[in-house]
Amino acid sequence: MKSILKPLLMVAAMAMGISSVATLPAQATLELNVNKGNVEPMPIAIPDFQGGLGPQISEIVAADLKRSGLFAPIDKAAFVEKISNPDATPRFDDWKVINAQALVTGSVSKEADGRIRAQYRLWDIFGNQQLAGEQFFANDANQRRVAHIIADAIYEKITGEKGYFDTRVVFVDESGAKNARKKRLAIMDQDGANVRYLSDGRSIVLTPRFSPNRQEITYMSYESGQPKVYLLQIETGQRELVGNFPGMTFAPRFSPDGQKVIMSLLRDDGNSNIFAMDLRSRSTTRLTDSTAIDTSPSYSPDGSQIVFTSDRGGGSGRSQIYVMGADGSNPHRISFGDGVYSTPVWSPRGDLIAFTKQSGGEFQIGVMKTDGSGERILSSGFQQEGPTWAPNGRVLMFFRDSAGGPKLVSVDLTGRNEQQIPTANYASDPAWSPLLE
C-alpha cells in the first residue's frame, strides 16, 4: 500500500525579507478577533501566485480562508494593481481603494532537485507593511499541503489562533441503497480533496477516530461477524483487534496521549459499560458498572476526565451527558435541557463539550461548557449527528442525512458559517485529525 502521509514538507518556514514576525510592532493594525460575537469576514486580496503551479496554490489558499467564514477573498477582476513581482512592496493605495484589508502575494517554482518551492508574503494594507513572509519546500505529492500550510499561517497571523487547514478527516464513505449500504473507511484532506479508501466495503465499518499522535485510527467493524473495535495503521494498512472481550465492543476513542482506547463493552444482560484499554500493557479497566447504556466516551484534553452518554438517570431512552473522573470516579450528569443528549465530544481546547441533541423532532448540534452551562445550538436539522472538533477548537464537522443519504457539514462556533464538505458519495462519521506535522 502506498504511503498516504509521507514525509511531508521538508523544511520549515524560513523567514523572508526584513519584516519577520518577530520584529513586527506589537500592535498590528490587521487583526480579527474570533471571540467576538459577530465577525465580519475580512476582505482579503489573493492574486494568482507567480509560476506554473502558482494559480492552483493560491486558489486553494483562498478557498481555505473563505470556507473559514472569517475571510472574504475579493474578486480578482476588481484588482487595480497587477502583481508581477511578489517580493516587491505593493502599491498599498491601489489595494485600499478596493477595501482590501490584507494582500497575499506569492510564487511557486520548481527546484533543481524536483522539489516545489512556495513562498508567500502577507501585507497589511492599511498598516502599509509586510506582516509575514515565509517559504516552504515540498515534494510533488504535497502540493495541496503547501497551500494549506500557507492558509494556516495567514489564519494564525491575523486571528492569533492556530489554523486547521493542514488536516485530514477520516470518515465512512457510503454508497448503494439505504437498506443495503456499502460502507468504506476513507480519508481525505479537510477540504474534501485527496480521498483514499482504507477498507473495501465488504463489512460494515463505523465511527473511525484519529490517534492524537500517530497515523492510526480506531474504529468499529463487523468483519469478524461480531462487531468489534479495531486499530488501523493508516500508512501500512495493518489492522489489529482491540482487546479480547466476549461481546460487542463499540464507540472507541483514543486518550489524549494516544496510549489508551476507551470504548463501550456490551454486557450479557444487554446493557453497555465503558472500559479503557492500555495499548502497551493490554490491560483493561472497567470505568462504569451500571444497568444502563453507557457509551460515547470522550476524554478531556488533559486526560483527567471523561464525558459520556448514559440513560442511567431517566430510564429507557432518556440519554443524557455525564462527566466522570478518568478512573470512573464521581459520575455526574451535566445536561439538563429539554431533550435527549448523546455523542459528547470534549473540545481540544478543553473549554467546551460538543453534542447531539434530539429535541422537538429535530437533531441539533450544539456546545456547552464542561459543567453543562451555557448551552448553545449551532445547527438544527431533521437528522444530523456526530460532531468532531477541528484541532483549533473553533470549527465542528458532523453529518447530516437528507435527500437519500448523509453528507458532511462543518459549522463554526458562531453557528453562522455552515458549509457542506464535497464528497463523491454519501459520507458519515467524520473525525478530524490533529494538525499534521
Binding site: S264, L266, I293, T309, V340, T343
Partner: protein, 168 residues
C-alpha cells in the same frame, strides 16, 4: 410502495410480498406473519423449514420508540417462536437487534443490543436453551423500511430471530 421494496430485501419475505401484491397495500397493520395477513395456506412452506418459521411463525418483533420492553404482541410472537424452536432443535439461533434512525449511531448500537438481549431472555424463559442463542446488534445500520416517517421507523425498531446451523 417503499415498504414493499424494503421487504424484498429479505429473501424469506418474498412469498409474503407476492401475496401482498395480490391483496394490495390495504393492510395498515405491521405484518408479523402470514397469519396476520390472512394468508394461511398461501405459503406452502415445509413444516420445520426456515421458511415455515419466517412465514408461519413470524421471525420478528417490534418495539416502541427508545424501548426494549417486550410488548404484548411481541410476547405472542416470541411464545410462538419458542414453541417452534423447542420442536425443531436442530437450529442455532442468532437474534438481531435493530433500531430506527431516530437516534445517534453509538446509542442505537447499544439499544439494538438491549432489544436482542430482551428477546433472547424471553425465549430462554420459554424453555429455549440459552446455548442455542446468540445476539448481534446492527443499531440503525440495516433498516428494512427506508422511508422517513413513523410507519417506517416502527418497522425498523425490531428484533429478528434468524436460524442457522442445520439447513432447512
Amino acid at each position: 410502495m417503499s415498504r414493499i421494496a424494503a421487504l424484498t430485501r429479505n429473501p424469506a419475505m418474498i412469498a409474503l410480498v407476492a401475496a401482498l401484491a395480490i391483496t394490495g397495500c390495504a393492510s395498515k397493520k405491521t405484518p408479523n406473519s402470514a397469519a396476520d395477513l390472512g394468508l394461511n395456506g398461501a405459503g406452502a412452506a415445509t413444516p420445520g423449514s426456515a421458511q415455515d418459521f419466517t412465514v408461519n411463525i413470524g421471525d420478528r418483533i417490534f418495539f416502541d420508540t427508545d424501548s426494549s420492553s417486550i410488548r404484548a404482541d411481541a410476547q405472542t410472537t416470541l411464545s410462538r417462536q419458542a414453541q417452534w424452536l423447542n420442536q425443531y432443535r436442530q437450529y442455532a439461533i442468532v437474534i438481531e437487534g435493530h433500531a430506527d434512525e431516530r437516534g445517534t449511531r453509538e446509542y442505537n448500537l447499544a439499544l439494538g443490543a438491549r432489544r436482542a438481549a430482551a428477546a433472547r431472555d424471553f425465549l430462554v424463559s420459554k424453555g429455549v436453551s440459552a446455548g442455542r442463542l446468540k445476539t448481534i446488534s446492527y443499531g440503525k445500520e440495516r433498516p428494512v423500511a427506508v422511508c422517513d416517517d413513523i410507519s417506517c421507523w416502527s418497522q425498523n425498531r425490531r428484533a429478528v430471530t434468524t436460524l442457522s446451523g442445520a439447513g432447512s
